[in-house]
Symmetry: C3
């Protein structure tokens, strides 16, 4: 087994990272279920299978789910990179865990705020809070590699 | 050379991961070619270069290529994370290879089903089959890091 | 600290990788600022907070920012994977740095060309130049893992 996975900070990152990927998968599943329930399909071949070409159409709630998913990609995927590298820079487990946990909880809140259309600025606030540990990790990584690069 | 790359399972993951990235690049190239052939440009400056502002327009087949690409990002990029970490948890090469190969073949089929608009549910089936190794890896990773985290 | 981060080539990759992630974050911030200035919100709850449902609408410049961001995801995220693995294959620092620097500069130019709607084919050229180091790294990785896989 690789050394990385035995590192406590890296394992902690992996734990939250995998949960966030599963969270993204759940948004995809919800989108698919909403498409079936609302009968709103992006592709004619799917509409044909589910009642006819009139269901090849957009639906506001499907589009909302799509936006939640795209926003996840814009933020969770860069987090996976930043947090993996940050874990290699030797942070204390306690400080690293706070970074990962704040990001994780803020992104779960972001998804809830998006899917339930919670009153603004709940969703934007969740987005901003999630960015704080990302910026913190980015700065710490730049300092760490500046010494070696 | 880093130890990771000498690991047989990790090398096997890297092989299929790079092929999938190239597959994504090919979808991007196809999208660009379809834009030129159909004269349907997302940006006015591109339309101006290729005949005039009337070609700043949407085209159903360009949108289909776009959806194929976005779906790749939603699934292949998380796979790269999950499969990299999974490779570090010490699976047998045979079992790991099956995970990577099933994902790879299902995603290639997904792209073919999308671009050729194959009859539903071919594409959805390919998507679902590709998710099975991902869920399997996610669960195995969570079990592995639970012991260290 | 993990060995990877002490590797000069890997550190060099991490440096440009983190700068590119920050560049993506800046595009997201610009998009948000343009939404506020143009009063064009993707979600009704945001429009309601900023003047009323009439501002739940699309704006061409907001859509341009969105396309720049999606194109970043399509290209920068795969780069993070390819460049990380490539760094493990033992390239010389000078050659690796050229790969990373060409990609970095071309992607910065791509964003500038997109946001300022520079005359075609500036943006497409930047995209194509950025792909060259990516294809080069993909080929070198496939050769490297072919020996071990």
């Amino acid at each position: 087994m690789a050394d990385l996975i035995r590192n406590e900070v890296f394992s902690c990152f992996v734990f939250y990272g995998v949960l966030l990927v599963i969270k993204m998968y759940i948004v995809a599943i919800i989108t698919g279920q909403v498409r079936l329930r609302k009968k709103a399909f992006a592709n004619p071949e799917d509409a044909l299978r589910h009642g006819g070409l009139q269901y090849h159409r957009q639906d506001p709630y499907v589009e909302r789910c799509r936006r939640a998913h795209v926003n996840d990609m814009e933020n969770i995927l860069p987090f996976l990179f930043l947090a993996a590298i940050y874990s290699m820079t030797g942070p204390s487990l306690a400080v690293a865990r706070i970074h990962f946990l704040v990001f994780f909880m803020a992104r779960v809140l972001h998804t809830i705020a998006y899917l339930f259309a919670l009153r603004a600025p709940t969703r934007s606030l969740a987005y901003t809070v999630a960015q704080i540990p990302c910026i913190s990790m980015a700065v710490q990584i730049l300092i760490a590699v500046a010494a070696y690069a």
